[in-house]
């Protein structure tokens, strides 16, 4: 139970950072934390059926469910791609406006009207 609460807190931390921070890079951090919380949740879930390594040799029964782990490998890869892309866009915005603060960027870009 305590683990679930911690994951829930992580999720909220990520969401709050994503929304409340004005710095683009910190927003990207928030997204990464949010993503990690979902990954934790899946991996935790997989460990309910057992803790052993999922190597099926006919004897081991208390193994973790390998499927969530496989899914999360994919989700992590996607998360890394999204983070990298977001940082690249943030860098471009910094180059164009000289700021990483979303309000300042908006102002310098003329409130979205180019």
């Amino acid at each position: 139970m305590i683990a679930r609460i911690l994951v829930g807190l992580l999720l909220l931390t990520g969401l709050a950072t994503l929304v409340a921070r004005r710095n683009l890079v910190k927003k990207v951090f928030g997204l990464a934390i949010l993503n990690s919380a979902a990954v934790f949740l899946f991996v935790m879930e997989g460990a309910h059926s057992g803790q052993g390594a999922p190597i099926v040799d006919g004897s081991a029964l208390q193994i973790v469910d390998p499927l969530p782990q496989a899914l999360m490998l994919t989700a992590i890869v996607i998360g890394v791609c999204v983070t990298a892309l977001a940082l690249a866009i943030a860098a471009r915005l910094h180059r164009a406006t000289g700021s990483l603060d979303i309000d300042v960027i908006k102002e310098r870009l003329g409130n979205g009207h180019d």
Partner: protein
Amino acid sequence: MGMTDLALAPAILPLVGAALALAGKTARPASARTLERLGAFVGLALPWLPLVLLAPSILQGGAVEGFVGGWAPSVGVAFRFDGMAWLVNLLGFAVAGPAWVHARGSGPRGSAFTALYLVQASALAATSMAADLFNLFVCLEVLGMASYVLVTESGKPGAYLASFSYLMVSAAAMVFFLLGVYGLYRLTGALEYGAVARGLSALPDSGGHAALASVAAIAAAIALRTAVMPLYGWLPEAHALAPHAVSAVLSGVLIKTPLFALTRILVLLPGGGETGAILGAAGAIAAPIGVVIALSQTDAKRLLAYHSISQIGYVVAAWGAGVALIAADPDGAGASAGAVLVAAAYLHALAHALFKGLLFLSVGTVTDVAAERDVYRLRGAGRALRRAGERLPVTTLAFAVGALSIMAIPPFNGYASKAALSAALKGRWQYWTLLAASVGTVASFIKLSLVFRRPKPAASTETFSEEAPPAVADTATEAPESGAEKVPISAKLATATLAAACLAGGLAAPRLYRVVATALGAAPGATDAWSAALYAPAELLKTAGLAAGGLALFALARTAPGKALASAIRNRPRGFHGLFLALCLGMAALTAWLIR
């Protein structure tokens, strides 16, 4: 080559094409261009072949099901190529091909762009046939990732900010999607839609609140991608600032594919019918609101982007009502009636894909040639086009076809699809909100058409001014460097193709509607009554009434109070936080409604 290979080909061929185009990065420029063209041919033209080959069996209501790569069902990724997948592919490739051709002239070009564009096309096809929750997640992420980059290809700083907001809110929504997948996997230990549904029905209370909350999270994430009303904030900037060809695909195809992919989940899982009904209601409310915001815009492409929100509202309204009927009665008469509603929604989605793609491309050409995007300042567009070397007014005519289609004037496809929506929604409250939205649509396209009016002095009331005297100064002369730009032949080709498709879609509408309804599982002959009444005097009278209403609304919007109101709507505060607030509140409301 088996049916399975044929069904997967529309998703795999664009990937092969993307690899070819990307290989051009290492080659010399001349061979890079050849590889790029070859890649686009493989990725955008060849997929038509499997679609044509599959059509006879799929359109009779058949489906190709299986597991990618032939893996065992317990570990394999399930896919299902049914009538809906076929239709969504048709919609996607019909717009993606011409839009790519347009990009040859209007930009962006290059190996990287074409490769990404093809990855997006592949993800569209894959999304349409996903039958596995996690696979749907991956497809949506790939689709999103390609579109975030494509939006920035225009190189405008504003586009980067739009792409950043789009990326952030959409990635956050996908985390909630993942949480929904988690909930369903925890309850059932399955990811394939059918297995999840069976697992849930075996549980004592079919999963209870946990299942409903999971469905709500998945539906909310997809609603954001579809830009259903409260979750639309990312769309206008991204679609307005993207390159024209990308705008056409984003508005035409990208926002509809996830919606139709969601159908399969909602008709199977508990709470799906109610979710459909709620989304449908949101769409019906979005249609008139989107139009009002569109009417207040001054930027030509932003006006079109807000119209996408309004038009997707039409689609979602009928789709949601249909899904609710199918989910309530999956094997009986409700399913057939629901299929007719979903067919009407699809017909409008297809029509919108074609005419909105056409509008984005032709308006893009006009604004490039005139170097002006403000609809109040841009005048004499027809002459600017002629000066740019367009002897046959292809772009002007194409714009006219697109505008008449979206205004629902016969015989173009927008008329037929809106008539199908009205017939399917007759007797529901949604009918009236969509009718109101149609009046606004007419008004805002009268406004947009004014860019073709002769420049000052504005004595004439004609909308199009092909015969304007050449002596009067216009905006094109103020920007000689871009005004001198020729209209590329590829742009003409692309707009002419889409314009022809709009006209054909309107003329062949009765047949098309019957085919679509059959493919989606409606009873035979369900659309015959509609076909007979399509050009009945009552319908035509209604169209004339709508046009007159639109003209009156346009006149009203030009008065001083109308202009003040438009300015207030245009400059309403829109922030980054609003996107997330809408997402969280929307999801919470949906969950609360389902659990209550």
